[in-house]
Structures are given as structure tokens and as C-alpha cells.
């Protein structure tokens, strides 16, 4: 096995560790900090069951964003839903035999890739063409879009232009998973694609990607509107 294969395997383990531990730590911090007062944005559900519904609508349909801006919603939802499909498509590298529903969604994953590129270009375009969004964009906001766009783009290039040895790649992926290491094909485009994914995993817990766990801990969305019926106990700080 080549140095490169070891390097990538090592980086993948490190990145996974950083991502899991980093996000896990944040989740623990969020859990530990009290929410001393009732602050749901109303109208809010009056039952726990209703709150689950509200969160589901936020997570699955981006309900609030839809209320806000149809364009941002379209780009944002297309990107995230596309990402989901693409991730599902990639499960084929980690499952043997490939789960039937993953096999079923393989071609959807391709469209997912298109949707990601479409959504990301739209979101990035706003950062240039809408003066308000341009004003609030930091270099990291541009870089994050560039990073994910490059991941999606390199993925699509492998599908259509520079094919890689997917059988060998799958052996590498399964090897990572089961600690039974196998060589990584050394096509430059693949190395770029995976290198960028590793970068993304590293920055996950120290960037705005924390919106993923954050959403579930947002008191304005996850609290039940029942302050008169149920006493929200004061926290002693």
C-alpha cells in the first residue's frame, strides 16, 4: 500500500474523530447550558407532540426560510436535499452488499449532485448580487461555498469525465470502516475530492456548520408554549 493510501486513511480517521468529538462536545455544551425562561417564537405548539411536528417541518422543509425568502429557500433547499441524495448514493461505498434502498436511489444521487451545484451557485450568487447579503458575508462564508461546490463539482467530474476505479475505491472505503486497509486509487481528481471532504469534516465543529446541531437546540423553536399550564422551573445559576 502506498504512502498516499496511508496518508488518506490516517486523515480520514483524524477528521472523523475531530468531527464527532467536536460536534459531540458542542452538543454537550448546549445540553448543559440552561434555558432559564420560556421563549418560543409564537404562535407555537402547545404540546410536546406539536413541537416535534414544528421541528420536523423546519428540518425537512425549512418552513421559516420559506416564509422569509422564496429564492433563498429554493437554493438552500435544493442544495441540502441534493446533498442528502448524494450522501445516500455514497453509502454504496460503505455497504456490502449494497442495501436495496441505496441501490434504488443511485440515479437520484446523480440528480442530487446537480441540485447541489444549482443551489450552491444560487446561494453564492446572492453573496455577490444582493447588497444586504454581500455586506454580511465574511471570507469564510465564500470559502465554505467554494469548498462544498468543489466537492460537488469534483464528484460530478468523476461521474462524467475522469472516471476512477470505483471497485478499488470501495475496497478502500470498506477497509477504513473495518480496519482492513486497502490501497486508494491515485487519480488526482479523486484525491482532490476526498481531500476536500476531509477539510470539510475538520472545519465542521469550528464553523457555521454548527447550525446542524444548533437548530435542534434553538429554544425559540423547540419549546412548548405552555408557560401558564406548566411551571417552567427556575434555574439556579
Amino acid at each position: 500500500m502506498s504512502f498516499l493510501s496511508y496518508l488518506y486513511a490516517g486523515l480520514f480517521y483524524c477528521a472523523a474523530m475531530v468531527m464527532v468529538v467536536g460536534v459531540g462536545r458542542k452538543v454537550m455544551v448546549y445540553t448543559r447550558i440552561p434555558a432559564p425562561l420560556k421563549i418560543p417564537t409564537t404562535p407555537a405548539p402547545t404540546t410536546r407532540f406539536g413541537v416535534v411536528g414544528r421541528m420536523l417541518r423546519e428540518v425537512v422543509f425549512f418552513e421559516s426560510l420559506f416564509k422569509s425568502s422564496k429564492w433563498t429557500w429554493l437554493f438552500g433547499w435544493a442544495f441540502h436535499f441534493g446533498l442528502l441524495l448524494a450522501l445516500i448514493r455514497h453509502l454504496r461505498y460503505f455497504t456490502e452488499p449494497v442495501w436495496s434502498w441505496v441501490a434504488f436511489l443511485q440515479s437520484a444521487g446523480i440528480y442530487g449532485g446537480y441540485a447541489m451545484v444549482f443551489g450552491l451557485l444560487g446561494l453564492w450568487g446572492r453573496r455577490f448580487f444582493v447588497d444586504r447579503v454581500r455586506y454580511i458575508s465574511a471570507p469564510s462564508d465564500h470559502l465554505m461555498l467554494a469548498l462544498i461546490l468543489a466537492i460537488a463539482g469534483s464528484g460530478l467530474l468523476m461521474k462524467y469525465v475522469w472516471h476512477t476505479d470505483v471497485v478499488a475505491l470501495k475496497a478502500f472505503a470498506l477497509g477504513l470502516l473495518w480496519f482492513n486497509w486497502a490501497p486508494l486509487p491515485s487519480d488526482p481528481i479523486l484525491l482532490i475530492h476526498l481531500g476536500l471532504v476531509i477539510c470539510l469534516m475538520f472545519v465542521f465543529p469550528i464553523s457555521k456548520l454548527l447550525h446542524v446541531p444548533g437548530l435542534f437546540f434553538s429554544p425559540t423553536r423547540n419549546q412548548v408554549d405552555d408557560s401558564r399550564e406548566q411551571r417552567h422551573a427556575p434555574t439556579s445559576v
Binding site: 420560556k38 421559516s64 455586506y135 462564508d141 425559540t220 423553536r221
Partner: protein
């Protein structure tokens, strides 16, 4: 139109989102609290020498105290969904009045001191040191937010800029830079019992005068009881209701309703104020202390119920926080919600058939309703979500023949703040208040043009004072703004068989 030193926004037939104008409102800031006003609330009298370290320490404390603040600092992706939602941005074009930019004033400091990326790559993520200039910006722009939560409706992560503003103000106050208007008023509540500094004797006289006034007007003995032990209901209402116009007509309306329904009620001189500016300055300690007077008054007077008058943020504090801060209310009648909004009470009485209206009394008016921000987005009425939108409208329709709503995205959960909420209802912020009112005025202008609306009813003392002040800047009559319970009081048939 009044003579003014700033440009009044032009009211157009359709809403517009302005292009950004950097620094447009950088000169606007409220007076800083004097030493006495600060110290009465437990804050240092002036900017402390080690303000930098103290401010960062306070920020650390608040990040560990409020999950909302910590999650909101981390979660924003700068999507821009909130950028065109704030009435102060729409009215001023200053980009720092966009909710995300207002949050970023704190977030960029948070990143610098509390995150890996900000510590090692500050330029990349827009992190900055806490400098005097940043602190100045905080003071300016955290007092250009009315904590109305409109942005939180549209944020995909529910980030509520009000929480950030409150934290910003608390940090500022804790290093010695509090806001004069709010802190002075809280001091008055502690010292005298209400925001207006109306002593007990003057309050008693005012209420007697009101009884006479109503007697002269309609020849019915409507009472305005004060400190009556054993009354069923303690009414806690904003002190503006005692004499400000148009507020007082609302108070007369409540009294007529209680009179006609045979409800035994009282006001309290100990808790002669529903408002709680502790909310505005983000100080939970002060909020609790202000609220505690209500619990004490209820126990002292031995009442069975507590009803809150027309006041937006007071209703938020009462509805959302009282149970936590001054509860439990196991000494009150469990058959009624605690606390109960005056509109809930009146609505119930209408449903029971206890009130009859002569709606023709209001036929000279075509009425629209201004949803107040704290009622709409931080509380509820009735037992179903959104009852806070239904109940006041049903009351108005019961008392008036002509009612129309303003444009859908400017009412209910999307309602625009009046421009004077959140501790900004002060003359040193008139420019901000006038400009911030423009989105609401624009929507009002539409229904005036289309439906000939003559009056806008509200259920918030701040909204009423604010519109009375700013509507003339837009060539609208100051008395267009009225209390919901003025409509009720004017149309209620008194003395008839129930």
C-alpha cells in the same frame, strides 16, 4: 408636517426594501444612564476602568446562563433571510440594523474570544477585538432594536435578535454604560411603584376623577377601585392607562366591562404598573424584582385572579415568565388562567352573553388592528396557538361594524413593531422612532387608501404612545390610534339586563 432635522421616509403605495447605506444611523444613540440610575439597579455608575475584561467576563457568564445566546452565536450561516425583515433597517437603510448584522456586532467578538477559528484566523471569519469603537457600536445599535422578534419568525434556526440585544445591553450596563430611559424608569418603579412615578395619593385622586368623568359622561356609577381587599380580580395595567391619551379611554373601557359583568376588581398601589423594563435591559434579576410586586400585591389583597391590561411587553413577561419568576400561583382560582389578559376576560364575557353592544356607536370609524410584537410573537391568548390574533379581532368586531385588516405580511406573526418598543420610547431617539415606524405606517397607508380606514386599534401602551407621537410626522392624525377597550367601552350597553 412637523419641522424636523432628519429625512422622513417617503410612504409609497407598495412596500420597498431599500439599498444599504452604511453608517446612516451611526449618530443615533440614547442618553447614557447617570450614576444614580445605574447604581439603583445594581450596576456600576460609570464606565469601569477594566471594562474590556469585565465585558468579556460578563459575556462568558451570559453564554453559560442562556442556551439561546450560545446556540445563536454559533448557528448563524449568514443566509440573509432576516436582512429585509427589521423595521429599523427598512426605515433607516443602515446595514447594521439588519438583524444578522446587529447580532454580528456581538458574534464577531464572541468568535475572537471564544472560538478556535476566531482566535487563530480572525480575518477569515470576521472576528475582532473588543475595542472602544466596538463598544460604542454596541451602545448605538443595541439601542436601535426594539426586541420585537420579527426576525426570529423568519430565521431558519429561530435565532432571535432580541436575545442578543438583551445580552448586549446587560453587558453594557454591567460595565457602567446603561441606558438612561429604561434604567431611570425601573428606578421609579422601585421607589414609587410605577413607570410614571405617580405616587399612591395622586393615583387615588386620578381614579376618583375618572369616576366623576364617567358619571358626567354617561350617568352611570362606574367604579375604579384601588387597594380593595378581598376583590376577586387584581388588575395590573400600564401606568400610562391612568392618564395618557388614548390609553385612559382603554382603562375606562375595562372598568365599564367589569361594571357591566359584575366583576369585583381592584387596582393596587403597590403594583400600579404592569410594564417591566427589566425585560428590555436583559436583566433577569431586575425583571424578577419588578414582577415580584405583583405577587406581593395579589397576596396582600387576597384576590382570586390576576388580569393584565393592554400592554405588549408586560403581557410577554406576565404570560411567559411570571410562573417561573414569581410563581407558582397556587393561591389563585385554578378555574381561570394565571395571568389572564384583559382581552381574554372580555372575550369570555362576550361569549357568555354578559356584554351587549350598540355597535352603531362606533359607526363613525373604520377600524384596523395593529398586532403588538410581544403579544404576537412572545405570548398567547386563549387556549389555541394564534389565539392572540383571533381574540382582539373578535372583540373589535363585536363592538364595531367596520373592521379591515392590513396587508397579511404586516399583521399577526409578521406584524411590524410600532418603532418605539423595547425601551426606545424616548425623545432622544425620535429619529429612530419615526423612521422605524415607516413599515407600519406604509401598511396603514394602504388600508387608508383602499378602505378609508380612520382608526388603528392597539393593545399596547407603548404602541399607543409611539403612534400618537410619530403619526403626525407622516401627516396622519395622532388620534387615529386608539385602545381596543375604548371601542369596547364606547359601544357597551351599560345598565341593561344581563
Amino acid at each position: 408636517m412637523k419641522k424636523v432635522e432628519f429625512d422622513i421616509p417617503v410612504i409609497t403605495n407598495h412596500p420597498i426594501t431599500p439599498s444599504i447605506k452604511e453608517g446612516a444611523m451611526a449618530h443615533v444613540r440614547p442618553f447614557v444612564a447617570k450614576q444614580g440610575h445605574q447604581e439603583a439597579l445594581g450596576f456600576p455608575g460609570e464606565l469601569v476602568d477594566d471594562w474590556h475584561d469585565k465585558a468579556i467576563e460578563k459575556m462568558r457568564e451570559l453564554l453559560g446562563k442562556y442556551r439561546s445566546l450560545q446556540v445563536f452565536m454559533d448557528s448563524c450561516v449568514k443566509c440573509g433571510a432576516c436582512t429585509d425583515k427589521c423595521h429599523y433597517f427598512l426605515g433607516t437603510s443602515d446595514p447594521k440594523n439588519m438583524p444578522v448584522a446587529r447580532q454580528d456586532l456581538m458574534r464577531k467578538v464572541y468568535r475572537r474570544y471564544f472560538t478556535f477559528a476566531g482566535k487563530y484566523f480572525p480575518k477569515l471569519v470576521g472576528a475582532v477585538d473588543l475595542t472602544k469603537e466596538v463598544l460604542e457600536d454596541w451602545y448605538s445599535y443595541y439601542h436601535q432594536c426594539s426586541e420585537c422578534r420579527r426576525c426570529s419568525v423568519y430565521c431558519p434556526y429561530g435565532i432571535d435578535t432580541a436575545e442578543v440585544t438583551m445580552a448586549g445591553r446587560e453587558i453594557l450596563a454591567s460595565v457602567g454604560v446603561g441606558q438612561k430611559y429604561s434604567n431611570e424608569i425601573i428606578g421609579k418603579v422601585y421607589k414609587i411603584g410605577n413607570n410614571l412615578g405617580l405616587p399612591e395619593k395622586a393615583l387615588a385622586n386620578t381614579l376618583e376623577d375618572l369616576e366623576e368623568e364617567v358619571k358626567d359622561d354617561i350617568d352611570v356609577d362606574v367604579r375604579f377601585p384601588l387597594d380593595v381587599k378581598g376583590a376577586d380580580v387584581l388588575l395590573v395595567t400600564p401606568s400610562a392607562d391612568f392618564f395618557a391619551e388614548p390609553h385612559v379611554d382603554g382603562l375606562i373601557g375595562y372598568a365599564k366591562v367589569f361594571h357591566q359583568a359584575g366583576v369585583s376588581w381592584t387596582l393596587s398601589s403597590h403594583a400600579s404598573e404592569a410594564a417591566n423594563f427589566g425585560l428590555f435591559i436583559g436583566s433577569q434579576d431586575n425583571m424578577q424584582k419588578v414582577a415580584m410586586r405583583v405577587r406581593e400585591a395579589a397576596l396582600e389583597l387576597g384576590v382570586k385572579r390576576i388580569i393584565v391590561g393592554e400592554c405588549g411587553h408586560a403581557w410577554r413577561v406576565a404570560y411567559s415568565y411570571w410562573n417561573t419568576l414569581i410563581g407558582p400561583f397556587d393561591f389563585l382560582d385554578p378555574k381561570y388562567p394565571v395571568p389572564q389578559h384583559i382581552c381574554e376576560s372580555t372575550y369570555d364575557l362576550i361569549q357568555q352573553g354578559a356584554l351587549k353592544f350598540n355597535k352603531e356607536e362606533n359607526d363613525d370609524k373604520i377600524v384596523t388592528f395593529h398586532d403588538s410584537c410581544n403579544v404576537s410573537r412572545a405570548s398567547r391568548m386563549g387556549n389555541m396557538p394564534g389565539g392572540q390574533f383571533v381574540i382582539p379581532r373578535e372583540i373589535i368586531k363585536a363592538a364595531c361594524n367596520h373592521f379591515v385588516d392590513m396587508r397579511e405580511d404586516t399583521i399577526k406573526e409578521g406584524t411590524f413593531c410600532c418603532g418605539g418598543g423595547g425601551g426606545l420610547l424616548t425623545d432622544d431617539l425620535v429619529e429612530l422612532r419615526v423612521k422605524g415606524a415607516s413599515p407600519r405606517v406604509q401598511a396603514l397607508h394602504e388600508v387608508i387608501e383602499q378602505h378609508g380606514v380612520t382608526h388603528m386599534a392597539a393593545i399596547c401602551a407603548i404602541c399607543k404612545s409611539q403612534f400618537t407621537k410619530v403619526l403626525p410626522y407622516y401627516d396622519m392624525q395622532m388620534d387615529m390610534i386608539i385602545s381596543v377597550h375604548q371601542l369596547v367601552g364606547d359601544a357597551l350597553e351599560l345598565g341593561v339586563e344581563r
